[in-house]
């Protein structure tokens, strides 16, 4: 009875820990193991070495996916952070109707990527969308067919992604700005610093942790991005807007390439880990120091 009382907290955690170690960590190890086998439609358990990874990196389609991921990630991060910083600084100037504006800037975050993709697919429609509007306005030669142009399709995903997520980056920067001591700004103003240099030289450098979180969130979002691509371009035209997450599910569930799909999933997992582990480490150290 005493033993039960003493260990009750651990007992309460046990089911969740069991779930975690089976469904999260166990599954990851299973996927790692399978990525070293010759599995096709069904998993096979004889080891085959790193051949799946060699195959993966020899595949042109995988290179398209990785290249797209890089393009998307870089643009997605730059645009979201630029818009996020701009809007958060503007909203921090004691704006009337701040709450109302914030609500509008953030609402896309409440919509799913499928809804976002569906909406933008219509707005960017090559015949009836923006292009038709420009024609009606008198710009007869205006052409906007990125959705069906292989070289440009990846940028339509950037447009929709930035629309969906930039308001959120605004929110975390605004929270960061609000935690800056007002005295610092006052002191700088007395010293004659302009509002512009106050932000660029004093406040933004103080927000390094916010930048770090924003980048980690955005990279994480872009590596996982799957729904938006499916809804907007389905990875097309052809495979021109393919990304690793789409590649993985295609190989796993349509091409019966379980081993190869596992290898690509592990590549994604390693990339996320390479970014998240140092981040968590520094965050936890910060927490310990507090």
């Amino acid at each position: 009875m005493f033993w039960l009382k003493k260990n009750l907290p651990k007992l309460v955690l046990t089911p969740s820990l069991g779930i975690l170690s089976w469904f999260v960590y166990g599954f990851i190890f299973w996927t790692i193991y399978i990525s070293f086998t010759k599995s096709k439609m069904l998993p096979r358990y004889e080891l085959w070495g790193i051949d799946q990874y060699i195959r993966l990196w020899k595949m042109p389609r995988w290179h398209v996916a990785v290249e797209n991921l890089l393009i998307f990630t870089v643009l997605f991060i730059i645009l979201c952070i630029a818009i996020g910083i701009l809007l958060s600084i503007l909203l921090d100037q004691k704006i009337r109707a701040e709450g109302f504006l914030r609500t509008i800037y953030l609402y896309p975050m409440a919509l799913s990527f499928i809804v976002t993709g569906t909406a933008w697919k219509w707005v960017l429609n090559p015949t009836l969308g923006i292009e038709k509007f420009a024609h009606d306005m008198g710009f007869e030669t205006f052409k906007f067919d990125w959705l069906v142009t292989p070289e440009m399709s990846i940028y339509t995903i950037v447009i929709a992604g930035v629309w969906q997520s930039s308001g959120f980056i605004m929110a975390i920067f605004l929270a960061g700005l609000r935690s800056v001591d007002d005295e610092i700004i006052k002191a700088a103003k007395i010293d004659g610093a302009g509002i512009f240099s106050i932000y660029s030289k004093i406040i933004l450098p103080m927000m390094r942790p916010v930048f770090m979180s924003a980048i980690v969130i955005l990279v994480h979002l872009s590596i996982k991005s799957y729904d938006l691509i499916i809804a907007l371009t389905s990875g097309g035209p052809g495979i021109s807007s393919d990304m690793p997450a789409v590649f993985m599910t295609t190989m796993a569930f349509h091409r019966s390439e379980v081993g190869l799909a596992s290898a690509s999933a592990i590549m994604m997992f390693l990339t996320v880990s390479a970014i998240v582990v140092p981040y968590l480490y520094s965050e936890l150290k910060r927490e310990d120091a507090r």
């Binding site: 955690l13 779930i19 953030l106």
Partner: protein, 300 residues
């Protein structure tokens, strides 16, 4: 002399005031431009959903519908006015509700009790246990899709709502535990300590002391989980098809498989219907929504 000085000062003040007004105008102008940017797709969705197809072809994205017609909405919801075989949302909307309610309740309860056990009943190694949960919030789900599909098959719940409930609870508890743990860590241990001295046990303290003061974090957690589960597509598309699919999968199918003639008005009505539940939550409880977003991503 004195007068000159005041005059100069006055002029300076007027100058800076004028400059300030100009700045304010520029500021509001930029803010307004972004309002247009964020609202345009929503506006386009709404006007398109009320147009007829001929209207859509004749007008442009931004033109207003000639009258309020709900035909597209009816078609998107239950297929009214269209021949059979087409996807419509009604059954899948209910699927999602049947999925969301248990998934949110179970994962939130588990998260609250886990967070409580991790912070108020500390034991050796508890921070490592927390780390396991924390890292779980980051894993790309592609790394667990294949074994999950097999496990659901073995359990006999693949392609069912129950299977999806399991999946969302399993991967949701990492987030719910994180939220609650971070909340409980910030509240004082005094009351818990006093109650323990009085001989109150683990569950008594949880239900009598902790739960009543947990309302804010429970709201945040419920909203977060609701949005996650409602908006999920990856799990829905991977682990279910046909009749047991959740709403996001149905929306995607509706848009992709519409009949030979594209029905953009129906697509847009369907997209709005799919987005309405999460939008309502966001509008009613915006602050809690944002708290969840920031808590879910800015850890520690």
């Amino acid at each position: 002399m004195q007068d000159k000085e005041t005059l100069k000062l006055n002029k300076l003040e007027a100058d800076s005031k004028r400059k300030n007004t100009i700045y304010r105008w520029i500021l509001y102008f930029i803010l307004a431009v972004f309002v247009i940017y964020y609202l345009t797709p929503l506006y386009v969705m709404i006007v398109t959903s009320f147009k007829t197809m001929p209207e859509i072809r004749q007008g442009n994205l931004f033109s207003l519908p000639s009258s309020l017609k709900f035909d597209a909405w009816k078609q998107a919801w239950d297929g009214t006015g269209y021949k059979g075989g087409d996807v419509f949302l009604k059954p899948y909307f209910w699927n999602s509700i049947k999925l969301v309610v248990p998934a949110v309740v179970i994962s939130t309860l588990l998260g609250a009790i886990n967070g409580y056990a991790l912070t108020k009943w500390r034991f050796k190694g508890d921070s490592y246990v927390f780390l396991l949960f924390l890292f779980g919030t980051f894993i790309p789900y592609q790394a667990i899709l294949l074994p999950m599909a097999r496990t659901l098959g073995v359990l006999g719940i693949s392609n069912s709502i129950n299977g999806l409930i399991l999946v969302h609870v399993v991967y949701g508890i990492c987030f719910t535990t994180l939220f609650c743990r971070n909340y409980y860590v910030s509240i004082s241990d005094e009351m818990v300590r006093a109650a323990r001295i009085d001989g109150a046990g683990f569950f008594k303290i949880f239900f009598k002391i902790i739960l009543p003061i947990s309302i804010p974090i429970i709201v945040v957690t419920v909203i977060w989980q609701f949005t996650q589960v409602w908006n999920d597509f990856l799990f829905g598309a991977t682990f279910s098809f046909g009749e047991s699919a959740p709403i996001q999968v149905a929306l995607n199918n509706l848009v992709l498989t519409g009949t030979a003639v594209k029905r953009y008005n129906v697509d847009m009505a369907a997209a709005i219907i799919t987005g309405i539940p999460t939008l309502i939550v966001y509008i009613l409880a915006g602050n809690y929504f944002i708290k969840g977003l920031t808590a879910g991503s800015v850890k520690g």
